[in-house]
Subunit: 220 residues, 2 copies
Amino acid sequence: MPGLTIGDTIPNLQVESTHGVIKLHDFLSSSWTILFSHPGDFTPVCTTELGKMAAYAPEFEKRGVKLLGLSCDDVVSHVEWIKDVEAFTPGSKVTYPIISDPNREVIKQLNMVEPDEKDHSGNTVPSRALHIVGPDLKIKLSFLYPASTGRNMDEVMRVVESLQRAAKHKVATPANWKPGDPVVISPSVSNEEAKKMFPQGYEAPDLPSGKDYLRFTHVD
Amino acid sequence: MPGLTIGDTIPNLQVESTHGVIKLHDFLSSSWTILFSHPGDFTPVCTTELGKMAAYAPEFEKRGVKLLGLSCDDVVSHVEWIKDVEAFTPGSKVTYPIISDPNREVIKQLNMVEPDEKDHSGNTVPSRALHIVGPDLKIKLSFLYPASTGRNMDEVMRVVESLQRAAKHKVATPANWKPGDPVVISPSVSNEEAKKMFPQGYEAPDLPSGKDYLRFTHVD
């Protein structure tokens, strides 16, 4: 399924990884997962990214979020390379599995192909794709970055916090929101319902239209 | 072309907008463009997002980046709603065009469909998709966020800065990079070439593998 996008179910592929064979649905079910690909082992941006991901892993774990890496290198390469990753980001431990996809089957099915770069042998490589997958095995949010742009783990953490609040309450998070900032009440909630659902109250700024769709409240 | 993703060329659609009829290739060619969709006018997160986008617009313009919004509401609705957007984000002016796609044709072709929400009439709505399109009309980077998660314009600005540096120099930006931080030299550049290409020099930290693929330098 090329073009896999938000709302789609991750296919139940069986993959090789640094933690042995994984059936994706077994790994993904009943928790949130950050599934992220990198163009190649022993390359610069990837080394910084996997180290940062390892450094943030305890914070993701606190939020019930698993990590799952992926590139087309073999498992032996991953294991050797992890030494560089951990050395470059002191204190980090790569305890999450990294998938090995030498046949480029997984990256095609998961919409993680880099359009502009090839490896030394002219083979396709993964982009810096990152899918946040819900406990229902569906993609909730995706970043598709090219090889040249390392991801921002603070933004990944921010959207995890947003997705989890929206899964728990009938709220959404405004532009540039950070945890602690007010959230907005979903348009599907009437004012009557909102008063019951959010006993802490809400504020609706005056707008030229006179409509009150913009309702701010606080949730944990 | 459902599943439009990074590396793909934006189709040359003719669209209606608050600035009249636009042929996408005419609009997109010879500059960078941020093409972003929102679920609906007169809804909370979108109001905060379009205001922030307007507030950041002068900074995008300095970098040669145009903005182009999109939802399925009609142009009359967009024009009325802009008053709310500007009132909620004081000082912002929505000077960029917003596409109107009442038939849901454009959002399907641009991979901007929200999987989980419908409007009051049960029609499909756009997700919070955002494609950064290069002067060659190709998608360089995409964010696909659900209706519940407002985008972060600081992250959008960060990746624009990264993409533009990578287009100008043979460099990439590491995880969590911000303008002013060191960048890394592309693996395709040999050490010999790097010395000529980056007369300012570069630093390569010692790694357990003994390899020197991680080379940091500074560029504007």
